[in-house]
C-alpha cells in the first residue's frame, strides 16, 4: 500500500530550519495566494474542501473560522495546539520537526481568514527541544519577508509567538490551554461562551491542531476540488496515523481518510510480530475505543470510527496482541486519566479515581458483577456531566472494552485469570 504524502511531502527532504528551501519546494505560495484573497474567499475554499479538525473531535474547520471571523471584538488570535499529549501519538512532532514552515504558513492563512495578527504555538513541555529548530525557521522566514510584518508586501502583519506547557495532559483541551498561556493553572473553562467568542485573553480565538493547520496551505494552493479527491465524502483529505504497540513496523504514516484499519496493521505495519495473535486495537489514543480483533475491518474516517463507539481522534492506533490483558490495559489507561485530571470538576476528579478503584478490584480478582453495574452508571455520569473532554473520554476505553471484551472482565471476577495475568498471580500494582 502506497502512502499519500501531502503533509509529509517535505519530511526528510528539506532542512527544516531553512525557510528558503521550504519556499523552493512550493512553500508560501498558498500564503501569497491567501493574502490576495478576501477572508470570505478563504473561508469558502476551506468550507468547500470540507476540512475537519484533526485534533480529535473532527469539528468542521470552516465553522470555527466563521465564528471567529464574525465575532464582535476586532482583536483576535490564532492558536496552534501543539500540546500533543495523547499517549502514543507523534504526528505533530514529526510535522513540527521536519516542516515547521508549513505550520507557520497555515497559521498565517488562518490569521488572514479570521482577521488575526498574532498567533501562538503552544508546545507541550516534552517537545521544548524543538524550539531551536522552530525558532530558526521562523526567524529565517521572517528575514526573507515571508512572515511577520507586511508579509510578502501584502501589508498584512502576522506575528507568531511560542509558548511552552509544563507537562499537563489537560492543557491540550483548548480552554485549559488558554489558561496556561495566560499564566494560570491549566484548568478548562465552562462553555458557552465558546473560544471563538471568548478565547485567549478573553478575545475571539481560533484554536486548531497542528495537523489541521498544516492542511490549510495545500487546500489553498491546490483548491477544494483537489482536496476532495482525497479521502471520503465526509472526511476529505489525508490523515496522519501513528501506529504503535505490537506491530512489526511502527511509525507515523500518511494515508487518505477512509483507509482500512486491517490493511494498516497487516500490510503497512507488517502485522503482529513473533507469530502472536491480535487481541484488540485502541484507536484515537488513550481516550479512544478498544475494539476486538473481529472488528478491525473498519474504514478509518471520522464518522465510521465514531460509529464504533470511539473516535478517530488524533489518529493513533495502538495494536494490542495476546501477550496483554485487556483489563490491565484499561487499568493502565485509568491510572493515566486519574493522574491527569485537573481536579476542577467533581465527576472527573472523583469519578476517575473511583473508576480506577473499581477496575482495579476486578483486575485483582476481588470484583463482583455489581461492580460492572457501578462502572456502567459511573461512566455514564462522567460522560454526561464532566466539565471537559477529559472527563468524557475517561469513560470511553472502559465502556468499549466491557462491551467488546466482557468475557475478560467476567473471567477476572471469577478469578479465572487469563494466561497473562495468572503468570503474575492475577494481581496488579
Amino acid at each position: 500500500m502506497q502512502e499519500v504524502h501531502v503533509l509529509l511531502k517535505n519530511r526528510g527532504k528539506i532542512d527544516p530550519k531553512n525557510a528558503q528551501e521550504y519556499a523552493d519546494n512550493g512553500g508560501f505560495t498558498a500564503l501569497e495566494k491567501a493574502l490576495s484573497m478576501t477572508p470570505e474567499e478563504i473561508l469558502e475554499t476551506v468550507k468547500a474542501a470540507g476540512l475537519r479538525g484533526r485534533g480529535g473531535a473532527g469539528f468542521p474547520t470552516w465553522r470555527k473560522m466563521q465564528f471567529t471571523a464574525t465575532a464582535a471584538d476586532p482583536v483576535r488570535y490564532i492558536v496552534c495546539n501543539a500540546d500533543e499529549g495523547e499517549p502514543g501519538t507523534n504526528k505533530d512532532r514529526i510535522l513540527l520537526s521536519t516542516d515547521p514552515c508549513a505550520i507557520f504558513e497555515g497559521m498565517a492563512i488562518a490569521g488572514k481568514a479570521v482577521g488575526a495578527h498574532v498567533g501562538y504555538i503552544y508546545l507541550r513541555a516534552e517537545y521544548t527541544y524543538l524550539f531551536p529548530v522552530m525558532q530558526a525557521a521562523l526567524l529565517h522566514a521572517e528575514s526573507l519577508g515571508y512572515l511577520g510584518k507586511n508579509m510578502m508586501g501584502s501589508g498584512y502583519d502576522f506575528e507568531i509567538k511560542f509558548r511552552s506547557g509544563a507537562g499537563a495532559y489537560v492543557c491540550g483541551e483548548e480552554t485549559a490551554l488558554f489558561e496556561s498561556i495566560e499564566g494560570k493553572r491549566g484548568e478548562p473553562r465552562f462553555r458557552p461562551p465558546f473560544p471563538s467568542i471568548h478565547g485567549l485573553f478573553g478575545k475571539p480565538t481560533m484554536l486548531n491542531n497542528v495537523e489541521t493547520l498544516a492542511n490549510l496551505a495545500p487546500i489553498i494552493r491546490n483548491g477544494a476540488e483537489w482536496y476532495r479527491s482525497l479521502g471520503t465524502e465526509n472526511s476529505p483529505g489525508t490523515k496522519l496515523f501513528t501506529v504503535c504497540g505490537n506491530v512489526v513496523r511502527r511509525g507515523v504514516f500518511e494515508f487518505p481518510m477512509g483507509v482500512n484499519l486491517k490493511d494498516i496493521i497487516y500490510e503497512v505495519c507488517g502485522g503482529i510480530p513473533d507469530g502472536h495473535k491480535l487481541l484488540g486495537v485502541q484507536t484515537g489514543g488513550t481516550s479512544g475505543a478498544i475494539i476486538n480483533a473481529d472488528q478491525i475491518d473498519m474504514n478509518l474516517d471520522i464518522d465510521s470510527v465514531s460509529a464504533s463507539g470511539g473516535r478517530l481522534g488524533c489518529g493513533t492506533i495502538l495494536v494490542i496482541d495476546d501477550r496483554n490483558c485487556i483489563v490491565d490495559i484499561v487499568l493502565n489507561n485509568l491510572d493515566f486519566f486519574r493522574g491527569e485530571s485537573c481536579g476542577k470538576c467533581t465527576p472527573c476528579r472523583e469519578g476517575g479515581q473511583q473508576l480506577y478503584n473499581l477496575v482495579n478490584r476486578i483486575a485483582r480478582g476481588d470484583g463482583a458483577i455489581q461492580d460492572l453495574e457501578k462502572i456502567d452508571e459511573l461512566t455514564e455520569t462522567m460522560q454526561l456531566t464532566a466539565l471537559c473532554g477529559l472527563g468524557h473520554s475517561t469513560a470511553v476505553p472502559v465502556r468499549t472494552s466491557i462491551r467488546n471484551f466482557r468475557n475478560a472482565y467476567l473471567h477476572h471476577i471469577d478469578k479465572d485469570f487469563c494466561p497473562v495475568c495468572s503468570g503474575k498471580g492475577g494481581i496488579y500494582r
Binding site: 499537563a168 489537560v170 493553572r185 465552562f190 458557552p192 486519574r338 493522574g339 491527569e340 485530571s341 485537573c342 481536579g343 476542577k344 470538576c345 467533581t346 465527576p347 476528579r349 472523583e350 469519578g351 476517575g352 479515581q353 473511583q354 478503584n357 473499581l358 457501578k374 452508571e377 459511573l378 455514564e380 455520569t381 460522560q383 454526561l384 456531566t385 464532566a386 466539565l387 468524557h392
Partner: protein
C-alpha cells in the same frame, strides 16, 4: 425576551439569563454547591446539571444561558440519577462525621444531600484525603478533608480581597486548596478577615471557635466582662434564625446576662473613645504637619495587611488602638481599679463580627494592664451557639440596658459597623471641635453605601479636608498604591478589610450583598433613633476624660489608648 419551557412551565426571561435564574423565576429550585450569588460562575461541582432537549450532555444550569425555544427538564430521572451519583462521589471522600462538625445544620452540602434524599449507603470506596487540619491561625480553622473544591474561597481570597493566601495544589484526586508551600495559615500573610469562611459551603473553613475556653474561664471563677461590638446587635438575631436586619440590642444584653456575664458593656462607648483620640490625632497632624493622610486603625485585618504589604506606610496609621483594645485596657485598668477587682480575676471577653479580632487580642503589645487586655474574642456565630447551648429562647427575651459605667454609646459609635461609619463619626466630632458648632446635617451620606472607594470633601472653617473610605482589601490596595505614588491628596482615610465593613465581617452569619443591604439599613435606622449621636457628647466618655484620662491624646490616654506597629514583611518571603 427569551421564551423557554422549564419542567413544562413556560418562562419568559431576558437574554443572557442562565437556566438557574430562569428556573428560580418559575419557582423551581435547582440544587447548587459551587454557585454563590455574589461570586463568579464556576460550574465545577456539576450538581446543578439539567437536561436540555436536543443536547446529548447534561449542561450546568448555573453557567448555561437560555435560548429561544429551549426545553429544560430540571428533575428528570436522568438528571436526578446523575446528581445523586455526583453527590455520592463527593461523599466518598468527605468525612462522615457531620454530627461533630461546626458547620452541621448550616452546611450547603448537607442541605443538598437532604434535598436529594441521599439515604442509601455510598457504593464507592471511601477515601478521605490525608490532610491535617490547620488550627494554627487564631481566626480561621481549616479542614481540607471537608473541602469540596468549589473554588469560592479562592475567588474571595485572591480576586476580591487580593491576599492570595489560598491556591490550588496538585491535580486530579489529590487536588487541594491550601496555603502555598504547605505552610500553616498562621505563618502566611493571611490577615484573618474570615471572608473565606463566609463563602465556604462546608466545614472546610470555619471560624476558630473559642467558646470552650470561655466556659473554662467561667469554671475557674473568673469575673466575665464582655464588650459588644456595634454590628453584633445587627447580625446576632440573624445568626439565630431571624430575618436579616433585626436589631436586638436589648435582647442581646439579656442573653449575655443569662449566660453569666458579670458586666455587659457596649463597644459603642470605646468607639466614641476612638473617635476622641483619632479625631484629636487628626487635628494635631493637620496642625503640626504630621504624616498625612492619616488612616484609621480600627480594623485589625487591615492593620496586619498594612504591616505586611506596606510597612513603610504604617506612619500613616492612626496610633489609636481599635475600640476592642481600648476597651480591654479600660476594663482591666480603670474599671478594675474603680471596682477594686484584681485585673487577674477578670476575664475580658469581646463579641465581635470579626475573626481578625481574635488575632488582634493576642498581639503581644496589647498587654497594658500587665495581663492580656482582651482575653477572648468571640464572633457572632460563636455567641449564637452559646445562646443555643444555654437553652435561651432569644426571640422571647425582654430588653435589658447595658451596664454602667460603659453602657452608653453614641450613634457615632454605632455606625462604626458599616463602611464609612468611622469616617462619618470622626467628621461629626472634628467638625464640632474646629468650627465650634454641629454639622448642619449629621448624616454624612457621601461616605455611606457600598461603593468600593468613597471620596468627599469637608469644609472646616475654610480648610478643605479631603477624605476617603474604602472597604475590601482590593480597594484598600488601590488607595495604598496612590499613597505610595504620592498621588493621594487626602487628609483622612478609613479602611475596612471586609467588603461592606464590620456588618460584612467574617464572624457574622453568611452574607450576600442583598442581606448586607438589610443590615446597612438597620444600622443607620437604629442610629437615627439614638438620643446621643456625637461621640464628644457621650456623657460616659466625658466622665472618663474628666475623672481619669485627662484629655484626648494626653499622657495617660497615650499610654492606654495608643499603640505601635510592626514590620511583618517577612510573612511574604
Amino acid at each position: 425576551m427569551i421564551h423557554l419551557m422549564i419542567d413544562g412551565q413556560p418562562v419568559e426571561v431576558e437574554e443572557g439569563t442562565t437556566i438557574l435564574q430562569a428556573a428560580k423565576k418559575a419557582c423551581i429550585h435547582i440544587p447548587t454547591l459551587c454557585y454563590h450569588e455574589d461570586l463568579s460562575i464556576k460550574a465545577v461541582c456539576r450538581i446543578c446539571v439539567v437536561e436540555v432537549e436536543g443536547q446529548r450532555l447534561l449542561p450546568t444550569a448555573c453557567s448555561t444561558p437560555v435560548s429561544e425555544g429551549m426545553v429544560v427538564q430540571t428533575a428528570s430521572p436522568k438528571v436526578l440519577k446523575a446528581r445523586r451519583n455526583i453527590l455520592e462521589l463527593i461523599f466518598a471522600r468527605h468525612p462522615q462525621n457531620c454530627l461533630v462538625c461546626p458547620k452541621s445544620g448550616k452546611c450547603d452540602l448537607q442541605k443538598v444531600a437532604q434535598d436529594l434524599g441521599m439515604h442509601l449507603d455510598i457504593r464507592y470506596d471511601t477515601q478521605i484525603r490525608h490532610q491535617k487540619e490547620d488550627w494554627s491561625s487564631p481566626a480561621i480553622m481549616r479542614n481540607p478533608q471537608k473541602c469540596i473544591l468549589c473554588g469560592r474561597c479562592l475567588e474571595m481570597c485572591n480576586d476580591i480581597q487580593g491576599i492570595n493566601v489560598l491556591s490550588k495544589e496538585n491535580r486530579g484526586f489529590h487536588t487541594l486548596v491550601a496555603p502555598a508551600y504547605g505552610e500553616k495559615l498562621a505563618d502566611t500573610n493571611c490577615i484573618g478577615c474570615g471572608q473565606c469562611v463566609q463563602v465556604c459551603p462546608t466545614g472546610a473553613l470555619t471560624v476558630h471557635y473559642h467558646t470552650y475556653g470561655l466556659m473554662k474561664q467561667k469554671e475557674l471563677g473568673k469575673k466575665l466582662i464582655i464588650q459588644v461590638a456595634p454590628s453584633v446587635r445587627i447580625t446576632l438575631a440573624e445568626a439565630l434564625g431571624e430575618k436579616p436586619g433585626v436589631v436586638s440590642t436589648g435582647r442581646l444584653v439579656s442573653a449575655l446576662k443569662r449566660l453569666g456575664f458579670y458586666k455587659v458593656f457596649d463597644s459603642d462607648f470605646s468607639a466614641d473613645l476612638t473617635i476622641m483620640e483619632e479625631g484629636t490625632e487628626l487635628l494635631n497632624r493637620l496642625k503640626n504637619g504630621g504624616t498625612l493622610p492619616m488612616i484609621t486603625s480600627c480594623c485589625p485585618a487591615w492593620v496586619k495587611y498594612c504591616e505586611t504589604y506596606a510597612p513603610e506606610l504604617t506612619d500613616h496609621l492612626s496610633t489609636a488602638k481599635s475600640p476592642q483594645q481600648m476597651f480591654g485596657a479600660m476594663i482591666k485598668i480603670w474599671f478594675a481599679e474603680r471596682e477594686g477587682i484584681d485585673p487577674g480575676e477578670i476575664c475580658s471577653v469581646s463579641v465581635m463580627p470579626c475573626t481578625a479580632k481574635k488575632f488582634e487580642c493576642t498581639r503581644p503589645e496589647m498587654r497594658d494592664s500587665g495581663y492580656q487586655d482582651v482575653d477572648i474574642s468571640i464572633t457572632v456565630q460563636e455567641l449564637a451557639s452559646l445562646i443555643r447551648a444555654g437553652g435561651i429562647d432569644f426571640a422571647e427575651l425582654p430588653d435589658t440596658p447595658f451596664d454602667d459605667p460603659f453602657g452608653e454609646g453614641s450613634g457615632a459609635g454605632l455606625i462604626f459597623g458599616a463602611t464609612g461609619g468611622v469616617m462619618e463619626a470622626a467628621l461629626r466630632t472634628v467638625y464640632a471641635v474646629v468650627t465650634g458648632q454641629e454639622m448642619p446635617r449629621l448624616e454624612y451620606t457621601d461616605v455611606r453605601g457600598f461603593k468600593g472607594i468613597k471620596e468627599s470633601t469637608v469644609n472646616l472653617n475654610g480648610t478643605e479636608i479631603r477624605v476617603a473610605a474604602a472597604h475590601g482589601i482590593r480597594n484598600a490596595k488601590t488607595l495604598l498604591e496612590k499613597i505610595k505614588e504620592g498621588k493621594a491628596d487626602y487628609h483622612f482615610i478609613e479602611i475596612m478589610a471586609c467588603p461592606g465593613g464590620c456588618i460584612g465581617g467574617g464572624g457574622n452569619p453568611p452574607k450576600t450583598w442583598k442581606i448586607m443591604e438589610e443590615r446597612k439599613k438597620a444600622i443607620y435606622e437604629a442610629e437615627r433613633n439614638l438620643p446621643i449621636r456625637l461621640s464628644h457628647k457621650n456623657p460616659a466618655v466625658m466622665r472618663v476624660y474628666e475623672t481619669y484620662l485627662g484629655e484626648p491624646c494626653g499622657e495617660k490616654s497615650h499610654k492606654l489608648l495608643h499603640t505601635t506597629y510592626f514590620n511583618r514583611q517577612d510573612l511574604l518571603r
